[in-house]
Amino acid sequence: MSENAADQVRETVDAVYRAESRRVLATLIRLLGDFDQAEEALHDAFTAALEHWAEDGVPANPRAWLVSTGRFKAIDALRRRARFDASLPEIARRLETDPEEVSDDVQDDRLRLIFTCCHPALKPDAQVALTLREVCDLTTEEIAHAFLTAPSTVAQRIVRAKGKIRDARIPYQVPSVADLPERIDTVLHVIYLVFNEGYFASAGTALVRHDLSGEAIRLGRLLLELLPDPEVMGLLALMLLHESRRPARTTPAGELILLDDQDRTLWNREQIAEGCSLVERALSSRRFGPYALQAAIAAVHAEAATAAGTDWIQIVGLYDVLLRADSSPVVELNRAAAVAMRDGPQAGLALIDAILDRGDLTDYHLAHSARADLCRRLGRFAEARASYDRARMLSRQEPERRFIERRLRELPD
């Protein structure tokens, strides 16, 4: 075979790997019942593909070929190990006679993989690491880099999570209809965590963090394709609408620009259009929840030509509905900020003070910076200074701290 042809096969195998490796892995995990064995089998199957496809040509259905090759490789590996472990021949025999064979149930396998990686019996940081590793095919180094942790920490989280899946027997299953709402919540939460880590990143290079947001959006799209649920639409819409503002939310030097001051011509219109149409689909289903409502609020912002032209009446109305669906002090705080825009700073300040007086959000920097901002607009500069100081103390993000310092310098004495 010429060198050229070998290169071509390698390229084909690479392309198939990018397009199919997660689907093949998802199916192999079901057939083999073990993450590590499935990963090994996946690796062996692609190694075999390089060899065989060069000789016999690319099979008509590469995915099916890879799954069945991976399975046979796993059986071989089990046989070899069987010399040391008496229980393994039995497993190998069972695998060989598995009547399920290579089913076309691939979509379900990918959903199984997502729901297993995001099982609520796993720790949230383990859910995130496992999802990025198994579903998105990020390396442990990439995950560690994105979350500013050591690769060994991420590797340990993944090993422990796989150990728990095996030892506690977390099933490789799409949850039953009764459990689905709660289980979808966990999956959506994991995806949103990944997105926020990329979107509100404090440090690290912008590029790497950006990838994390892009990864979350890809996950959202995949989940929507597999499970067209209104909250999945809502989350994808919310991420797209946030992402649309990325080019406008920082200066080239990395300084933060608030929504009101952003150059709206920099917003990504394509993402806004997609986000808005997803919001409409979600809301018209009448089974929407907090994600669709947050996306609806983001859509109102996205559709306003100017900050002053924002429909604050509608935004406050949406926050009222959101508070009923998901009452939390943070949602209350955001509603207070919207009320300040609708009815004036005094009205917003009263609401924020009520939240803080209750003892909620006293350690949340955004509560204090929102309070400071309203005090500033009311000309109560000493109070504004005190609240900005508190916010600066509590903030852990460098650009945010610089932003607050800028505001402090701008305050009249």
């Binding site: 019996a121 030892d167 506690a168 027997r169 977390i170 099933p171 299953q173 949850p175 459990d179």
Partner: protein, 118 residues
């Protein structure tokens, strides 16, 4: 697969329950136990006497030391257990979530370690 469901309750809260309420609570336990016997989940289960009856035993340097009270002082105390048979963790969680104390206290679900017989 076998799982142990460890039931943790706040004994003070249970102790201060009005009689009618605590009778109803016991009733719930009886019908729960009947239910998991019918579904084949039940292997065993017992309620424990209050934690004030607990004794902690350690042997250090060959010497037995005995102290009054539980191993750890916590807000919720181990009050009983069920040993169940379940298909997988999801199945076990289903069963555990129906234990009456899951509503008031906490249920810890632990898979049983199986040792291969030589």
């Amino acid at each position: 697969m076998r799982y142990l469901c460890l039931i943790y309750d706040d004994e003070k809260k249970l102790g201060s329950m009005p009689k009618g309420e605590s009778d109803a609570f016991m009733g719930e336990y009886f019908s729960f136990t009947e239910g998991i016997k019918k579904t084949g989940h039940y292997i065993g289960g017992e309620a424990l006497q209050p934690v004030q009856s607990a004794t902690t035993v350690r042997v250090r340097g060959g010497k037995v030391s005995t102290t009054d009270g539980p191993f750890a002082e916590t807000k919720e105390q181990l009050g009983g257990y069920y040993l169940i048979n379940a298909k997988d963790l999801n199945d076990a969680i289903q069963v555990a979530s129906k234990i009456p104390s899951a509503r008031l206290g906490t249920v810890e679900v632990r898979p049983i370690q199986e040792f291969n017989q030589p």
